[in-house]
């Protein structure tokens, strides 16, 4: 078992979350989570965000409701999640069984100079999610616990929230395509087939 007192590395975490991903659909929040997801390989079933901070969790909800047979994993950062913290209430009320939200929590705004977010002062995102109504909401500190979250995402039996504590490493950018039209069209074509090109 990994030492819970040593912070996890974000790319190890994302590699494990996306291990044997199958037909998992992935929303990546803007900034480092986007680069982390892209570092595992560009993929048509990824929708990586370059802006619209705060949107990741709710994109996940709309997608989860539209594609109820698919499993949806949102991978985002603590700053991005905090910007739209109310969405946890909305998602808990809607209770999409096929949606997992994994927050990579380095307690920093990474893209803007590593300023502290509220989680650095102890704000408990997993506690907020639990209070909103997520029955499975965890703070994750070991790779074994990351594997559990990965497995729960594939099972798709209930909405899952994970606040994964990671070290505040600044890593090389690995960028997906930036054209929103391309990202949207290829994702829809992958999920919906060529029909998506015509409506």
């Amino acid at each position: 078992m990994t030492n819970p007192n040593v912070l996890l590395h974000r790319r190890d975490v994302v590699n494990e979350l996306l291990r044997d991903r199958g037909d998992l659909l992935v929303i990546a929040g803007l900034g480092a989570p986007n680069w982390d997801v892209s570092a595992t390989g560009d993929h048509r079933n990824n929708f990586p965000l370059w802006g619209a901070m705060g949107s990741a969790s709710m994109i996940g909800l709309g997608l989860a409701l539209a594609q109820q047979r698919r499993k949806i994993l949102v991978i985002t950062g603590d700053g991005e999640m905090l910007m739209n913290i109310g969405s946890l209430a909305t998602i808990a009320v809607e209770r999409p069984l096929n949606l997992t939200i994994a927050v990579l929590d380095n307690e920093r705004f990474g893209e803007t100079g590593m300023q502290k977010t509220h989680t650095a002062s102890g704000v408990d995102l997993a506690g907020i999610a639990a209070a909103a109504g997520f029955r499975t909401s965890r703070i994750v500190r070991t790779m074994e616990q990351v594997t559990d979250i990965r497995d729960l995402a594939h099972q798709g039996k209930e909405p899952v929230f994970a606040q994964i504590k990671i070290s505040p490493d600044a890593l090389p950018f690995v960028m997906p395509p930036a054209d929103g039209g391309i990202l949207t069209t290829r994702f829809r074509q992958s999920v919906l087939g060529d029909e998506a090109l015509h409506n």
Binding site: I27, M53, G62, L65, A89, T90, T185, V191
Partner: protein, 187 residues
């Protein structure tokens, strides 16, 4: 102020335009409805509440709906966002999503801070609603006559879903009837 009272009385019968809008949205294939409630949308919301084929989602803030309907589109479903004009300001940065990704977004905005407004706090956002939406790239059409709401929504739905971009309909207070809490408080 007798003229004002007469206008208010002329709105005593329930308006039928929400029923037209409901049918138009159903015909357009709307399956997800995201909303922060407004009195002006209450009849339409009741219609969707009674419709088991439509997922009606209450939001904590309107921008959630912009993101949710982007996700719906990624998953092959169409939606509509119901909001009051005061909620438009909450949406602006999130509208980046449909604008830059070429996604449809249909917004039905009931106006405050518009015709006959009594509450001064509604004026800044109400008067800024159309300019704010247009500044970020949303196509805006207005409906100020109850008989024209349906065809205005039909046109905006076609624009949004056939040309993959955000379109908003502003439903004016002339259609909705101006509230006056001060008068209600006196009664």
């Amino acid at each position: 102020m007798a003229g004002l009272d007469a206008k208010q009385e002329s709105r005593a019968t329930p308006p039928s335009w929400p029923d037209d809008v409901y049918r138009i949205l159903k015909d357009a294939g709307v399956q997800q409805v995201a909303m922060v409630p407004d009195a002006g949308h209450s009849r339409l919301i009741r219609a969707f509440e009674a419709d088991p084929e439509t997922r009606l989602v209450t939001l904590t803030t309107e921008e959630e709906g912009v993101a949710m309907l982007a996700g719906a589109w990624l998953g092959g479903q169409r939606g509509v966002l119901l909001l009051q004009s005061s909620g438009v300001g909450n949406c602006i940065n999130m509208l980046t999503l449909p604008v830059i990704c070429g996604m449809p977004l249909l917004m039905l905005v009931t106006m405050r801070g518009d015709w006959g407004e009594f509450n001064p706090w509604q004026i800044p956002m109400g008067q800024g609603t159309q300019a704010a939406l247009e500044s970020i790239g949303v196509i805006v059409t207005r409906a100020d006559d109850p008989d024209l709401v349906g065809q205005t929504v039909w046109g905006a739905a076609n624009l949004a879903f056939n040309t993959w971009r955000p379109a908003a309909v502003l439903i004016g207070q002339r259609v909705l009837g101006a509230k006056n809490f001060k008068e209600l408080a006196r009664k």
